[in-house]
């Protein structure tokens, strides 16, 4: 789905871009997609997708629906759906998610917890039961 550090991923939900020339301090709470290329210190929460670009430095507890990480994160990461770490990713903290992809070269220092539970709609849940 993602190709390296390509920032051209089309997205209708892009709302917040924290550029490389900006420092955010405090509890950042976003509703739409968030792209981080700068510095974030505190808490970083979004209800949608989070992208931490190469060169970004995040010292925060991170919560998102899904995350693509190519930068440095010091703090625990929780993503409901999935987390993707590229070769340039540096994570110092615990990771909690349902689906995890780690590219060769990425560094993770922390505990990884895979819940293995998909948050599904009732209709989809019933299909799963049948297939069993």
């Amino acid at each position: 789905m993602f190709k390296g550090d390509n920032m051209d991923r089309p997205s209708k939900n892009v709302e917040t871009i924290i550029g490389p020339s900006v420092k955010v301090e405090g509890d950042f709470n976003g509703d739409g997609d968030v792209i981080v290329e700068g510095i974030v210190v505190g808490n970083l929460t979004t209800k949608n997708h989070l992208k931490v670009g190469k060169g970004a430095r995040v010292q925060a507890k991170v919560t998102a629906q899904s995350a693509f990480i190519a930068g440095e994160i010091i703090g625990n990461i929780t993503a409901e759906e999935r987390i993707e770490l590229t070769a340039s990713a540096r994570v110092k903290g615990d990771i909690t998610t349902n689906s995890l992809s780690i590219e060769k070269g990425a560094r993770v220092n922390g505990k990884i917890t895979m819940n293995g539970q998909k948050k599904t709609e009732p209709a989809e849940a019933s299909v799963e039961t049948k297939s069993k």
């Binding site: 917040t16 871009i17 550029g19 020339s21 900006v22 301090e25 405090g26 700068g38």
Partner: protein, 253 residues
Amino acid sequence: MYLYIYDAFLNHKKYANLLNRIENRLADLEIKGKICRLNVLKNMQEVIEDGIKNGVKTVVAVGDDETFSKIVNIIAEMDITLGIIPVNNRSKIAEIIGIPEGEKACDVLAQRLVKKIDLGKINHQYFIDSATISDSQAILDFDKFKISPTTKKSIISICNLGFLSTNQSIYKQRLSIPTDGLLEAVIAPIKETFFSKTKSASQSIFPFKKIQIASKSEPVTVTIDQQAIFKTPVQVSIAPKKLKIVVGNKRLF
């Protein structure tokens, strides 16, 4: 009833022909009204207040972006509709709301497609386009978090109607939409070369409803719509659906 306000610079004789053509077209379309030509002795606020007393429901500003910005501040608190007739093709506001220049604008006015758009509010003054700060000492306080530029030179724009003129592909040709109930803070670092200053492509964009702008040391200057100036600390907020304005079919939102 319509009130047409001609900005003071239109008193120059080079605009006489254009104004004649506009007046003829308004007469053809049967939307002629009272005309007020501003000058040093005639203040825009007084003209509008007198007009409202006489039953004016629509005020049409004839001029450029500066004219439209001035009038927005006066009528924001009043229950009247704003129309604009740009006298040249350099009006950014007219382009965004889909109003052509000169007498062609009269046809759009006659169609009377009215939209309620948001305005930005800085302390107690409204702005239609944007507020800008050309100082990296500024701090944007979003209540729960603070943002500060890390480069020596940058421009912070608080956009309501303004284009987000960035090279970032996601926002390329995208507008700060004036009906979404949000303003956008755009922070652009400036790259200085020997000959020129250019905004860097890597801008930051934060949508918001209300923020405080302060500074790290000395108060910084906030300019709204390239005319009024404030010193920090200031509060910037959105006034949703505050202005009734006649728009065209070719509007960009």
